[in-house]
Amino acid sequence: MRLRFVLTRLSLLVVTVLVSSLAIYGAMFLTPGDPATLLVGGSRDPDPAVLAQIHREYHLDDPFIQGYLHWLGNCLQGDFGKSLVYRDSVAGLIGTRAADTLALVTYAAVIVLVTGTVIGTVAALRGGRTETLVTTLTAGAMAVPTFVMAVLLIWLFAVQLPWFPVYGSGEGFAGTLKHLTLPAVALALTWIGYVAQVTRTAVRAELRSEHVETARSRGVPEHAVIRRHVLYNASGPVLAVSGVGIAGVIATAAVAEQAFGTGGLGSLMIEAASKQDMAVVQAVSLIFVVVFVVINTTVDLVSAALDPRVAQKGAR
């Protein structure tokens, strides 16, 4: 039963990546004109010789599936093609920016997980006014778009209180941390709200559950009731929502990078998209999708390991 669940989830991962890559590659052919014009990098009037070369390099004249398999094969080997806008290999472009994104996403993810779960748990356990306050604040946090938060933070900390640098990504660990604090906070806020709300609901539900009533009726000390029954049982849903939170941070990282000009894969993709540099957009979207899907799958598998009923339900 367990094994079957793992296999089902893993095959879903593979299918998702395959279908997504097909969509990413196929999107190029939706353009009304020659897909090759999307690969020369925005010039309105491309040189026919260059176009012909692109057709050859990207196997655009071969049957669709062949071209796709060729592209996917190359991607799997780390060859994402060339960007004519940046005059560089796409892999090289990605390589120099990946570290920035990784740092930002990790920073934001840590903030989301720690703050979100702690706030949610405390709210549920304390109840009363704390809970009302947290519910209101988190609902607010979820409504603030990352880019609006970015603007507010820049205005507050660059214009009013110059505590944090607001542009660039800094040197060294401390410098990076300092430079990434505002972007990470802006990026994290929405997801803190989300993680906190789901955590609160999960802990609340366990607090009201019948098995907790049983534990109390047996005279189990309250701290043990909370730890062994409330928090332990809520950890499944909390873990699941943490995964969603991390995935969400990754999916919206582009906005924060663009707003703060920190540079990274997200802003690379957006620049490339506005210049219609398809090779870069395809490569970065593929990377994002793979990371996103791997995180979702990991979370599902870990939840199933924690609570065998999840696996049983999922395998049916």
Partner: protein, 332 residues
């Protein structure tokens, strides 16, 4: 009144719960006495307040509940217990078996974990000793392969087995009083017999007192010494189980008896009670049963009857039956 107080005395207990923001009476007046080692059944339909009364014994009421009257365990008021005393009281002197073991046993933890928790966390028994002890009790309640069962999770066990686990957990605490809240309602009849037999044997072996909450008068009469009938939040009758059929004085008790179709008598007429059972907060000024009572008179609608003793039993009725029941359709 004797010098030594009874094991449990519930005296004029009333419970108000906040409904729609304002306190409403769910239990008006519950009176129950359980001597050491005795078995008492608390019988009623939905809304009668029987489950809430049982929870009040453990001091296990929802937030916002208001209590009047008193629940005393061996002379000590439960409401007056300090938190630490209440915890020890729950851990060692009373134990509760709930109706739905699947919801009342933590589904994420193993059965063994549930069983030993009551010992290791509440009185510092070492884990190995606790395991040894609950293994023995599991055997006693008819679970032979205790080691395997203790490794399993609750969802791997059938409802009947899980209820035995719940009973084993209650027995492991070595309580003096067992509270059983409809422990067999969710089970098949054959499993019900098994579970009731297990409870009866355990009582016998340990001299355990029992408060048995049920909607089934026949079952209550078969396994208990005395019967307390509740209706709409009040105790309406209290009598020895053996006298139930002939000497039940309250019209509700008699109506309940005759509305249950008998398996064993052909042609017995089934008498239904008109209307539906009320909840405590819906009760009119007079007698709660007045709307459905075949013997209702004007006085019943204006004046709530107080319990009055007659011989070995007590009934709260202005016009109780005094002749032995012939027409009830359930000959002894």
């Amino acid at each position: 009144m004797s010098a030594t107080p009874p094991l449990l005395r519930i005296d004029g207990l009333g419970i108000d719960l906040p409904l729609d923001g304002e306190p409403r009476p769910i239990v008006h007046r519950a009176d129950v006495v359980i001597p050491e080692g005795a078995a008492v059944a608390l019988v009623g339909e939905s809304g009668s307040g029987k489950s809430l009364t049982a929870r009040a014994v453990l001091g296990l009421l929802p937030a916002g509940a208001r209590l009047h009257g008193d629940v005393a365990f061996a002379g000590e008021s439960v409401a007056g217990m300090a938190p630490e005393r209440l915890r020890r009281f729950r851990a060692g002197e009373v134990a509760m078996v709930f109706q739905d073991p699947r919801a009342h046993i933590n589904p994420a933890r193993s059965v063994g974990d549930f069983l030993i928790e009551g010992l290791t966390l509440t009185r510092g028994v070492r884990a190995a000793d606790a395991v040894r002890k609950v293994t023995g009790i599991l055997r006693e309640v008819g679970i032979a392969d205790a080691e395997r069962r203790m490794r399993q999770r609750p969802h791997e066990l059938s409802g009947g087995l899980l209820q035995r686990v719940m009973i084993a957990a209650a027995l492991a605490a070595e309580p003096r009083l067992l509270l059983a809240d409809e422990p067999t309602t969710a089970l098949d009849v054959t499993t019900q017999e098994e579970v009731m037999a297990i409870i009866a044997e355990a009582r016998e072996a340990r001299g355990l007192a029992l408060l048995f909450i049920t909607h089934d008068l026949e079952l209550a009469a078969a396994v208990c010494d005395r019967i307390v009938v509740m209706y709409a939040g009040s105790t309406v009758e209290e009598l020895p189980a053996g006298h139930l059929r002939e000497r039940a004085a309250h019209p509700y008790t008699r109506a309940l008896l005759s509305s249950r179709p008998s398996v064993f008598e052909a042609g017995a007429d089934l008498r239904s009670i008109p209307g539906r059972p009320l909840s405590g907060f819906e009760v009119p000024d007079g007698c709660a049963f007045s709307d459905r009572c075949p013997r209702v008179r004007d006085r019943c609608r204006s004046e709530r009857p107080a319990p009055s003793a007659a011989g070995d039993s007590t009934a709260a009725c202005h016009f109780p039956y005094t002749a032995p029941a012939e027409e009830a359709g359930c000959h002894a």
